[in-house]
């Protein structure tokens, strides 16, 4: 198995690269054991691209996403975001980077239970420079009618769509989704994927979705498979399938 594959194939050469990760490794010290979560990964993400990172649990995909999103720093290697080297950023600069450029969606939604849907989105728009109106963001994910509901009054799919609205309300350059459908059934999972698809299409936000569900890969422009901290394979979908036609 190759440690790396050539990340850039010809059709991408004229496109603007959002992320450029080279030789990323990540070692965690858990107790007295070293866990190698990433063992040298090269990866690019292009403007407007929809990327799916496939891999079983423990393959290192969440670690990779956290590093791209500025939540974590690699043990070695470099990550470039546009013209900036994220690996040289300090804590404050990473915070600013997340605030201005990155939208996150998590498997367990991570909504603030004490805030309504609208307020959860406002949490982000409060600190952004040119945000959407929270209502507009919630309409984009089809929740225009449930603005003042608390998370406990929403279904899992609805909660995840609030999380997506929250992530995109700041008009981020990249949308990073960690197992967005992991806690959902097929039907609601598809509704959530449709929302992500729509954001990618209508706003042109570069999107990376992590999943262990191979079916979801067919809605991506490009699919990268991770295994044991390395990129195992990479392929490009000649024709993307719309999310609503997925089945699993």
């Amino acid at each position: 198995m190759a440690t790396t594959t050539s990340p850039v194939s010809s059709p991408d050469e004229h496109r603007i690269c959002v992320f450029q990760a080279r030789g990323i490794t990540k070692v965690y010290h858990v107790g007295e054991v070293d866990v190698h979560a990433l063992r040298g990964v090269d990866l690019d993400l292009f403007e407007g691209e929809f990327l799916v990172l496939l891999g079983p649990s423990g393959s290192g995909k969440s670690t990779l996403l956290n590093i791209l999103g500025g939540l974590d720093v690699p043990t070695s290697g470099t990550v470039r975001y546009q013209d900036h080297d994220l690996t040289r950023y300090d804590e404050a600069a990473l915070t600013r980077y997340r605030r201005e450029h990155v939208g996150f969606v998590f498997q367990f939604y991570n909504l603030i239970p004490s805030l309504t849907a609208r307020e959860n989105v406002a949490l982000v728009t409060d600190i952004s420079r040119d945000p959407m109106d929270p209502v507009e963001a919630l309409r984009l994910v089809g929740l225009g009618e449930r603005l003042d509901h608390f998370p406990s009054q929403l279904s899992g799919g609805e909660q995840q769509r609030v999380a997506i609205a929250r992530a995109v309300a700041k008009r981020p350059q990249v949308l990073l989704c960690d197992e967005p459908t992991g806690a959902l059934d097929v039907h609601t999972g598809i509704v959530v994927l449709e929302a992500i698809e729509r954001v990618n299409r209508e706003l042109g936000t570069a999107t990376a979705v992590i999943t262990h569900n191979a079916v979801i890969a067919s809605i991506a422009d490009r699919v990268v498979s991770l295994s044991d901290g390395r990129i195992a394979s990479e392929r490009r979908n000649e024709s993307k399938m719309p999310a609503r036609r997925l089945e699993w």
Binding site: T63, N66, G69, L71, D72, E91, A92, T95, R96, Y97, R98, R99, E100, V102, F104, F106, F108, N110, L111, I112, P113, S114, L115, E119, N120, A122, L123, V124, D126, I127, S128, R166, K170
Partner: protein, 789 residues
């Protein structure tokens, strides 16, 4: 505050744990209330006192003497440092007041007619000044007037120099000399039996052969004057005229009591609030730490969206501030309310023209600052943890806690304890610091109860010693002038008198090196049975030899121990000066006492059989006749009645103690409840998943509750004995703080006090437990298991 989404979260989080917020705010409020109460009362009392003293020219140096001609008065003003000198005639008389069977004591003070005296003036509450040439007109002090319902126009009968006279009250007055109004030699006020009267000098002086003379001096000093030097010169000047020793304001009986109270208030501003705020800070710390653990993922999400460490830290800090401000607001209101009550209570002790409780903004600002400061200090580490929580790490659920077999299990004794008990023990052993802090918090509640209640035990003990076993006389009769044995025999033969024991009181200055003190040395018969010298442990001490028996406090002030010698300068008669050995120091409870054997006193004074008065045991059936007899005896200057003293004691002190005790119970309950309730809620939050799992696999509600509440029970059981011990220690500290010239209190804590403290804490714990138990009963099993930890 802009209502950003983050601030909305703050408000909702606070509302979501309003029980805990309230419990902490109440503990804080208790601390702030005691602070406001004592600081504002201190301010009010001190301000009122200074204004009153200034307005009515309270003197700086005082002296009494036998008699000096007016010509001496001019030389008083020549003492360097004296800005104004005033002389008066002051005499003590027997009163016969309507409605009072027993004789009362009155002090007549000469004043100029028509106006307030320039030094030691008075505030005229009602009526008018004395008019020239009107016989028998007097002003009376307000406390006595109130006690007897006297108004201008009423009369009181007094025995003035052996003659029955009628005093016509024309005005009611208050004087800075009698803010705390006690009969000379007493330690408790008795407004019913002691009155102060101001009378025209032109009328009073002739009655006592004092025309053109005086027997009382008050000096106002210039700023920066050397008081000790003025006192020395004044003593020299007055010595040929029977000077009884000059003293400064600090030794003035009334002022001394006010100062004593101010000192106690000052102590109170520190001790009690510190305890409460420490507990509050600890509770905040525990609650916030727990909240931050619960909200790990929310914190991670906030950081993922780009909230900075500072913003997240400030968010939690703001939570603390809100609680602290609620506590400060509640506490300020409560403190002001209680302060008003305390000021009102003081008006019964201390007679000021007005005593208004004033709450200075500075005190409020300080209170808010203290409460916010303690809150922030208590939670700084938790807030810093929240700020520093690395987002990627926070995203992962908290790792399972690290448990180990307990000591018990390592010793192979696990069969002795049930699985539930094992869970409890492991939990306690895993986080010993958290457990220790909880134990300490609950212990504090018990300690506060002990401290708040032991004073009653101690005072009961003093009462029993002092009035039950040491002073067994019913009456103490004092003569105008030391008389011969005949006076004693006369008293013995009054009907109703069962026994009489003489005493000789000698005014003297005791000196050791540069330290000196004015005292009245009481000489007693070595076989005295009615009035016995007794220490705090109830040991009777019979005076022997020629030595002096001094209060341990007096010994401390003079810097002498048993076996040392002191100079005794007698201020009466031929004013002998003698070197006398200190035979023994006595741990007694009030005042600065000095005793000697009667025979030794007589030899020292070169006199035979003279007595100053007698202690009487009486037949209660004939008491009213005895009172009438005593009222009509010109030689009798005063009669002190033991039951009256005890009565007055109970009326004032006992009621105050009861109030203090009640507020302590309330505060301690708040603390106990605050600590137990918060500990329980936190344990529940931390372990709801575990407890729900146990319910799912078939444990009953009772079994599950037992695990959680068992932990609290263990904490409470550990805390109570510790708290009682802590209470005993704090009581000892309180005793040190009231160890003054005026009072000493023995360290006595009754078993009932310990029992009471323990019961209050157990009940508070039980109630908190029951509230939490209801929550366990309503644990949503599915919900708990569905969500991630």
């Amino acid at each position: 505050m802009i209502l950003t989404a983050l601030n909305r979260k703050l408000v909702r989080d606070l509302l979501g744990m309003k029980g805990q917020v309230l419990a902490i705010a109440l503990v804080m409020a208790s601390g702030i209330a005691t602070f406001i109460l004592s600081a504002a009362t201190l301010d009010s009392l001190e301000g009122t006192m200074n204004a009153y003293y200034d307005a009515h020219r309270f003197a700086d140096v005082f002296a009494r003497l036998k008699r000096a001609p007016r010509s001496v008065a001019e030389r008083l003003g020549e003492i360097p440092g004296v800005s104004e000198a005033a002389t008066r005639v002051v005499v003590d008389v027997n009163l016969d007041v309507e409605g009072l069977a027993e004789p009362g004591s009155g002090r007549l003070i000469s004043v100029p007619e028509h106006r307030e005296p320039r030094v030691n003036g008075f505030y005229l509450r009602a009526g008018r000044f004395i008019e020239p040439g009107r016989r028998g007109e007097v002003l009376v002090n307000e406390a006595f007037a109130k006690a007897h319902g006297l108004h201008p126009g009423d009369t009181v009968r007094a025995i003035i120099n052996g003659r029955r006279d009628t005093l016509r009250i024309v005005g009611i007055a208050l004087s800075p000399e009698y803010v705390y109004q006690i009969r000379p030699g007493d330690i408790l006020p008795d407004d019913k039996r002691f009155g102060v009267f101001w009378m025209s000098e032109r009328e009073l002086a002739p009655a006592y052969d004092m025309e053109g003379a005086f027997n009382d001096v008050s000096l106002v000093l210039m700023p920066g004057a050397n008081e000790a030097e003025v006192i020395r010169r004044l003593d020299d000047l007055l010595a040929p005229y029977g000077g009884l020793g000059a003293f400064g304001r600090a030794d003035h009986p009334s002022h001394q009591f006010v100062l004593n109270e101010l000192r106690e208030l000052r102590g109170m501003t520190v001790i009690a609030p510190t305890i409460f705020l420490l507990v509050a800070a600890f509770l905040l710390n525990v609650v916030l730490t727990r909240l931050i653990t619960t909200q790990r993922e929310q914190i991670a999400a906030l950081k993922a969206f780009g909230y900075s460490n500072g913003q997240v830290g400030r968010h939690y800090l703001l939570m603390v501030l809100v609680i602290a401000v609620i506590g400060a607001a509640l506490g300020t209101g409560l403190g002001a309310w209680m302060g008003r009550g305390l000021a009102e209570m003081y008006t019964r002790f201390f007679h000021f023209p007005i005593l208004e409780f004033s709450l200075h903004p500075r005190v409020v600002v300080l209170a808010v600052g203290i409460s916010v400061g303690s809150g922030v200090l208590g939670t700084l580490s938790a807030v810093r943890t929240a700020g520093r929580l690395p987002p990627a790490e926070a995203m992962r659920p908290e790792p399972p806690a690290d448990f180990r077999p307990t000591i018990l299990e390592r010793l192979g004794l696990q069969r002795l304890v049930s699985p539930a008990a094992r869970t409890i023990l492991r939990e306690l052993e895993r986080r010993p610091i958290k457990a220790a802090i909880s134990v300490f918090g609950i212990a504090m509640a018990a300690a506060i109860l002990v401290v708040g209640s032991f004073m009653k035990d101690a005072i009961d003990c003093v009462l029993e010693l002092q009035f039950g076993r040491a002073q067994r006389q019913a009456l103490t009769v004092t003569l105008n002038e030391p008389g011969h044995g005949r006076a004693l025999r006369e008293m013995e033969h009054l009907s109703g008198v069962l026994a009489a024991e003489p005493f000789r009181a000698i005014p003297a200055r005791l000196r050791s090196g540069h330290r000196h003190r004015l005292v009245a040395v009481t000489a007693l018969r070595e076989d005295a049975q009615l009035f016995r010298i007794m220490d705090l442990n109830g040991r009777v001490i019979a005076p022997e030899g020629d030595g002096l028996y001094l209060s341990a406090k007096l010994g401390e002030l003079l810097g002498v121990r048993a076996g040392d010698r002191v100079t005794m300068e007698v201020l009466e008669g031929e004013r002998p000066v003698a070197e006398i050995e200190v035979a023994r120091l006595i741990d007694d409870f009030a005042g600065l006492s000095a005793y000697m054997r009667l025979g030794a006193a007589h030899r020292l004074m070169r006199e035979e059989g003279r007595v100053s008065g007698a202690y009487l045991a009486v037949d209660q059936a004939q008491i009213s006749r005895l009172y009438t007899d005593l009222k009509n005896r010109p030689a009798v200057a005063g009669v002190a009645i033991k039951t009256a003293t005890i009565e007055s004691f109970n009326a004032i002190i006992a009621e105050n103690l009861l109030r203090i005790r009640l507020s302590n119970i309330i505060f301690a309950t708040i603390i106990a409840f605050g600590v137990v309730y918060n500990s329980a809620r936190i344990s529940l939050a931390e372990r709801s998943r575990e407890l729900a799992t146990l319910r799912v696999i078939g444990f009953t509600r009772g079994e599950v509750s037992a695990i959680l509440l068992g932990e609290l029970a263990v904490l409470t059981l550990l805390a109570v004995p510790l708290g009682l011990a802590l209470g005993y220690t704090l009581s000892a500290a309180v005793i040190l703080s009231v160890d003054t010239e005026l009072f000493r209190i023995p360290l006595v804590v009754d078993r009932s006090t310990y029992g009471f403290a323990a019961v209050v804490v157990f009940v508070a714990a039980l109630i908190s437990g029951l509230i939490v138990r209801r929550r366990i009963d309503h644990l949503d099993l599915i919900e708990v298991l569905k969500s991630r930890a």
